[in-house]
């Protein structure tokens, strides 16, 4: 599964994209974040405050309790600030 990071999530983790083999026990975005947080101290730091994280599954915005299903791409990022 391709994982994308944007803005300060990307900066804290130190990369904008990584490919991971997600275990079958990980079924929601929130569980995916818990699992990714174990990859490094930087991941853990970026994901410390869940209230400040938003996500998209296959480019559609979802809540953190949404299922990831057979997604090809999951993005994790801060609340948006465009316009």
């Amino acid at each position: 599964m391709k994982i994308l990071y944007f803005a300060w999530v990307r900066e804290r983790i130190g990369t904008g994209e990584e490919d991971v083999e997600v275990p079958a026990t990980v079924t929601t975005v929130a569980q995916l974040i818990d699992w990714l947080a174990m990859r490094s101290d930087a991941h853990a730091a970026a994901f410390a405050d869940r209230d400040r994280l938003r996500a998209a599954v296959d480019q559609a915005f979802v809540s953190l309790d949404a299922p990831i299903g057979a997604a090809r791409e999951v993005a994790i990022f801060p609340p948006v600030t465009g316009g």
Binding site: F6, A56, A75, F77, V80, T81, G82, G83
Partner: protein, 149 residues
Amino acid sequence: MIRVLVSSAPIDLAAELERLEVGGAVATFTGLVRADKVAGRGDVAVLELEHYPGATEAALTRLLDQAVTRWALTAASVVHRVGAMRPGERIVFVGTASAHRAAALEACAYLIDRLKTDAPFWKRETVAGEARWVEARDSDDAAAARWGA
């Protein structure tokens, strides 16, 4: 009649306006980079825009489709700049065209309100040589919510 452009190139207002002249009324909104004062730090010198390529264009296209249906628009455009900008530069352009003014004006306000909460852009300000990510504002959520789902 729908135009979505996300680009690091400057926004050409004259060209964007001309594309919209296909009805009886055209309404537009242009957002400029403000030289905001940041308490205790100074003025914003550079504003950078990051986005989620692909997802951004899809989100903007969805918004424009909704607006065209809701207000029977004859044309609608969103042009959003990304990358580094200076105060005074155009960051976003929203334009709508319809048979009469009310639909164009309302749809234009809808698009800029919803764009702020529904499209994956992130701003980073550089003040006194130090870059910081801009925090999302509750007032933007409230402005988007007034239009309903």
